[in-house]
Symmetry: C2
Subunit: 126 residues, 2 copies
């Protein structure tokens, strides 16, 4: 099944790729990386752009992505201090698959909403 | 930003695409759909193949995917009853982006593990 690398198998619970999938399968991490694809941004700008994210979750998600080598944190000695977040070259390789996934979500939203209504209506009449 | 459909914006918290992203950004849902790409499977086969998934989570995830119109549930009147799960044509269009994401995870696993070790070592020496 694994064509990319025969040493890894995402179906195996002890496989480290599961940890990566955990990170990717995180709505906030995906939205953050997507938002950073156009260039570095400050914390407050990210908070403003990604509607509904809390200060705490934004901070935690950035820290996790920094640990994974997907985001860099650069501090500029201005007054007050400026902190900028940017994607690493590793994260840049994620752009394509992440965009494909969000594009899918945006394209097929009406079909999913229709399926949910039909399902819920079916449940009610059972 | 949204090229696929100007009516939707995934950065907007009240946008329904966020709900879709919630579903896609679910490790178990991704693994399940990935596992079903080769054809329909029974509940127990899925449970065996996807290491670490509990009976409860598998059942809940299948139900959510069925509600979203991504998975069908077919009951065959055998003794005992056979229940088979299959991807819908809508889910089939997800194959490409989901496979791209897991391929990325498998390919870049070593780079991420190295970044995590460097980050943790940096924390310790701070």
């Amino acid at each position: 099944m694994n064509v990319a690398n025969p040493r890894f198998d995402v179906y195996e619970d002890r496989c480290p790729t599961r940890l990566v999938l955990d990170r990717l399968a995180d709505k906030w991490a995906l939205l953050l990386m997507l938002r950073l694809t156009d260039g570095p941004l400050r914390f407050n700008q990210l908070k403003r752009d990604i509607k509904g994210i809390s200060q705490k979750v934004l901070s935690q998600t950035l820290k996790k992505l920094e640990r994974d080598g997907l985001v860099t944190r650069t501090v500029y000695p201005t007054v007050p201090v400026t902190v900028e977040y940017a994607l690493t070259p590793l994260a840049a390789t994620l752009r394509e698959p992440v965009e494909a996934l969000t594009r899918w979500a945006e394209t097929h939203m009406p079909a999913i909403a229709a399926a949910q209504q039909a399902y819920d209506a079916g449940i009610e009449t059972r």
